[in-house]
Amino acid sequence: MEWYLPVIWASLIGTAVAMYVILDGFDLGVGILFPFACSESERDQMMASVAPFWDGNETWLVLGGGGLFVAFPLAYSVIMPALYLPVIVMLLALVFRGVAFEFRTVSRSKTWLNFAFSIGSGLAAFAQGVILGGLIQGIKVADDAYAGGALDWATPFAFLSGLAMIFGYGLLGATWLTLKTEGPVAERARGQAKVLLLAVLAFMGAVSLWTPLTEPRIAARWFSLPNFYFLWPVPAVTALVAFACWRWIGERREAPPFLAAIALFLLGYLGLVISNFPYLVPPNLTIWDTAATPASQIFMLLGTLVLLPMILGYVAFVYWLFRGKVREGESYH
C-alpha cells in the first residue's frame, strides 16, 4: 500500500537525529572539554560560544523522540521500555547541564555548576552511545511489546559505544571551539582535536569490525556481492575525510576541521543506517511493521513539509546572527 510513507518518515526522523547529534553534539562536546579549561574566564568563553544555541539544539532531540512516537508508535513503545534506564539517565543528565547554563550566570560560586555542566554533558553523551549500542545489538520483542529484562542493554558493546560517543562529541566540541574562540582556548582545542580524532577513528574501526563479526545480518549487508561494490566508498571516504581533518587542524584552519568532524559523524551514521535498514528495532521490527496508520503519517507529514523549512530557516538565521568569534573575557548574558 503506502509503502513509501514509512520510508519518508524514517528519513525525516533520521534527519532529525542527525541534526541533533551534530548540533547538540558540539555543545555537549564543549561540556565534555570543560574540565580541561584553565580559568574561569576561559570557561566563560567556552560557555558563551554555545549559550545562544543549546536550547534550540536540544529541541532536535524532542523532535527525534516525538517523531518516533508520531510516525512509529510501535517502535517507540518497544524501544523506550527496553532502554529504560539509559534513556532516563540521559534525560537527567540533560536536566543538570541544561540548568547549569542559566544558573551559572547568576551564581557567584561556579565550581558546582561547572561540575554539573561537564558531568551532565559527559553522562548524556555516554547514555546516548549506550542507547545506540543497545539498539544495534537488538531488542527482544514478543506480542508487539518489549520482552527482555531491565538490564539487557548493559553489554560490553553498548559501553564501548557509550565511550565512543564521549570522544566523538568531544571532537565536535573541540573543532567548534577552534572555529568560535581564539587565544588559549582555541589553541588548547586544536591539540585536543588531534587526540580526539585519533580516538574517534579507533572507535569507528572497532565498531566496524565488531558489528559484522557478531551480527551475521550486518556482515551479509556489507560483504556480500554485489553490495560490496557499492559500499566500499563509505569507508574509503571516511578515511579521506579523517586525513583531511587532521591536516586542516595542523594548518590551523578554522571552519574546515569542524565541517570535517561533522562529515565524519555523518559517514559513521550512514554506515549504521546501511547496516540496519530497514530495521527500526533490530532485528525484529522494520519501519513498515511499526508505522502509524497512514492517516496519521500524512497529517503530520503535511505540516512537517511546511514547518521544517521554516524551522531550518530561522535556526540558520540565529546561527548567522551569532557568527564570528567569542572573545576572551566576553561574558555570558
Binding site: A51, G65, F69, L94, S296, L321
Partner: protein, 462 residues
C-alpha cells in the same frame, strides 16, 4: 522485589508532570509580559520599560531552562512508562505532540537565544519581535498540549479497531469537546499566575523602599491585568465545569462529593468523603448550591458517584480537596485583584502597607491553584487514562517495579536539587533588582545581607 509498576509509574509521572507545570504556568505569562514591556519601550522610548524587560528576561531564562528540561523528560516518559498508552492512542495523540514540537518548541527555543543574547546584535524592533515570538510560541505550545490532554478527557474524531484508536476527523480530534474551555482556562491561569508574581515583586520593592519607580510600574500593570483576568477566570471555569458535566459527569460528582444522583446536590464547603460508606462525613454544606451552579435550577439533578460501580470512580477525596483548594485560591485572587484596583482608584495603592505586605507574600497562589486544578482534572479522569478507551492500569510499560522505583528516587533527588537552586537564583535576581548594570555593584555588595534577612527572601519562603 514486589513493587507495583503501575502505582510507581503513576507516582513518577505525577511527580515529573507536577514539577513541569510550575514552569509553563510562569513562562507562558512572563513571556507575554516581557513582550508587552518591549512593545511599550519601542513605542514610548522610555528606558524604564526596557530596564524592566531586561530584568524579567533574566528571570525568564532561568525558569524557561527548568521548563525545557523537565518537558523533555515528559516527552520520553510516554514511551518509558506508558508504552501501552503510546501504542493504543499514538496514532491520534502523537501528531498533536508532534505539531507542538514543530510549531512551538523550535520557535521558542531558537528565538530565546536572540532575546537573551541578541540585544547588542539586532535592532530594537527585531529584539522585541523575538520576545513576541517567544510569547506566541509558549501559547501555541499550550494549545497543542491542552488539545492532546483534552482528547484524553473527551475523545472525539476517532474509531477503535482491535483496541487501537485511529483518527477519522482531525479537526474533531484537535477541537474536541472539552478543549476550548480547558485551553482558555489554562492560558488565563498562566497569565494570572504571572500577574501575581509581578504583583508580589512590585509590592516587595515598595515595602523595601528600593526600585520605587519599577515597583510602581509592576504594581499598576499587574493589578490592571489581574483585576480583569481573575473574575474572567471564574466565568471560564464555570463554563468549563458545565462542559465537563456533559462529558465527564463522574468527575464532577467527585469534585462535589455528590453520591446520590436522585437528590439535588449541595455544595460542601468542607466534608470528608468516605468511599467505603459512600457518604460524606463532617459535612458543612450549602443545600442545593451545586445543583444551582451546575443545572441553574435549585432542584436540578446531576449524576452521582453511585451511578457507577466503585471500580469506575476516581479517588474522591483527592479530587474533592484539590478542587476546593483551586476554588479558594481563585476567590482569593479575585478579591485581592479587585481590592488592589479599588485602592488604585482611591489613589492609596502605594501607601497601603498591609495590602502590600499580603501581596508580597502571596506570589505562589497562581502556582498552587494551577497544580490543584490539574490534580482535579487528572485524578478526576481516573480510572481512565483515556476516557472510556484505556484504563490507566492497562497503559503502563513492561518495565519492572525496581527500575521505576530507582528512577523515581533519582527524579525526586535531581528535581529537588534543581528546584531549590532555581528558586534560590530567581530570588537572587529579584533581590538584585531591575536597575541598569552600572548600579549592579552597589546592590551586589548589599545582596548577601538582604538575602539573608527575611525581608529580602521573597521566594525563599515556601
Amino acid at each position: 522485589m514486589d513493587l507495583d509498576p503501575v502505582l510507581l509509574a503513576r507516582l513518577q509521572f505525577a511527580f515529573t508532570v507536577t514539577f513541569h507545570i510550575i514552569f509553563p504556568s510562569f513562562t507562558i505569562g512572563l513571556s507575554a509580559y516581557i513582550a508587552t514591556l518591549g512593545a511599550l519601550w519601542v513605542r514610548s522610548g522610555e528606558e524604564r520599560y526596557h530596564e524592566l524587560m531586561r530584568f524579567w528576561t533574566r528571570i525568564f531564562a532561568v525558569s524557561f531552562a527548568m521548563g525545557v528540561v523537565s518537558g523533555l523528560v515528559l516527552s520520553y516518559q510516554f514511551g518509558t512508562n506508558w508504552s501501552r498508552f503510546s501504542l493504543v492512542v499514538g496514532n491520534v495523540v502523537g501528531p498533536l505532540i508532534g505539531y507542538e514540537v514543530l510549531t512551538a518548541f523550535f520557535l521558542e527555543a531558537t528565538f530565546l537565544g536572540v532575546l537573551l543574547f541578541g540585544f547588542n546584535k539586532v535592532p530594537p524592533w527585531l529584539y522585541v519581535l523575538s520576545a513576541a515570538i517567544v510569547a506566541i510560541g509558549t501559547a501555541m505550545s499550550a494549545f497543542w498540549i491542552l488539545s492532546a490532554n483534552s482528547w484524553m478527557q473527551s475523545p472525539a474524531g476517532y474509531e477503535l479497531k482491535d483496541g487501537i484508536a485511529y483518527p477519522i476527523d482531525w479537526l474533531a480530534v484537535i477541537f474536541n469537546p472539552t478543549f476550548p474551555y480547558r485551553f482558555a482556562h489554562m492560558l488565563n491561569a498562566a497569565y494570572l499566575t504571572t500577574g501575581f508574581v509581578v504583583l508580589a515583586v512590585g509590592a516587595r520593592y515598595l515595602l523595601a523602599g528600593r526600585h520605587i519607580e519599577a515597583g510602581r510600574t509592576m504594581l499598576r500593570m499587574a493589578i490592571g491585568l489581574t483585576a480583569v483576568l481573575a473574575p474572567l477566570q471564574l466565568v471560564i471555569g464555570d463554563q468549563h465545569g458545565l462542559d465537563t458535566l456533559k462529558y465527564q459527569p463522574i468527575k464532577i460528582a467527585a469534585m462535589e462529593a455528590h453520591w446520590d444522583g436522585t437528590k439535588p446536590g449541595a455544595f460542601h464547603i468542607f466534608a470528608w468523603p468516605d468511599e467505603k460508606t459512600e457518604t460524606n462525613r463532617y459535612a458543612l454544606s450549602i443545600p442545593n448550591a451545586s445543583s444551582l451552579v451546575l443545572t441553574h435550577r435549585l432542584h436540578g439533578l446531576f449524576t452521582g458517584l453511585k451511578s457507577v460501580p466503585p471500580s469506575d470512580r476516581p479517588p474522591v477525596a483527592i479530587v474533592f480537596f484539590a478542587f476546593r483548594i483551586m476554588l479558594a485560591l481563585g476567590f482569593f485572587m479575585i478579591g485581592a485583584a479587585l481590592f488592589g484596583a479599588f485602592l488604585w482608584w482611591r489613589g492609596s495603592l502605594f501607601e497601603t502597607r498591609w495590602y502590600l505586605q499580603i501581596m508580597a507574600h502571596t506570589w505562589w497562589v497562581g502556582f498552587v491553584a494551577v497544580m490543584a486544578g490539574w490534580i482535579t482534572t487528572e485524578s478526576g479522569r481516573q480510572p481512565w487514562i483515556v476516557e472510556k478507551i484505556l484504563r490507566t492500569a492497562d497503559a503502563s510499560s513492561p518495565v519492572i517495579g525496581a527500575s521505576i522505583a530507582v528512577t523515581l528516587v533519582l527524579f525526586v533527588l535531581a528535581y529537588g536539587v534543581v528546584f531549590s537552586f532555581g528558586i534560590y537564583y530567581i530570588n537572587r535576581l529579584i533581590d538584585r533588582g531591575p536597575e541598569g548594570p552600572s548600579e549592579t555593584p552597589r546592590h551586589l555588595a548589599g545582596a548577601p545581607i538582604s538575602a539573608a534577612h527575611g525581608g529580602g527572601g521573597l521566594l525563599q519562603r515556601r
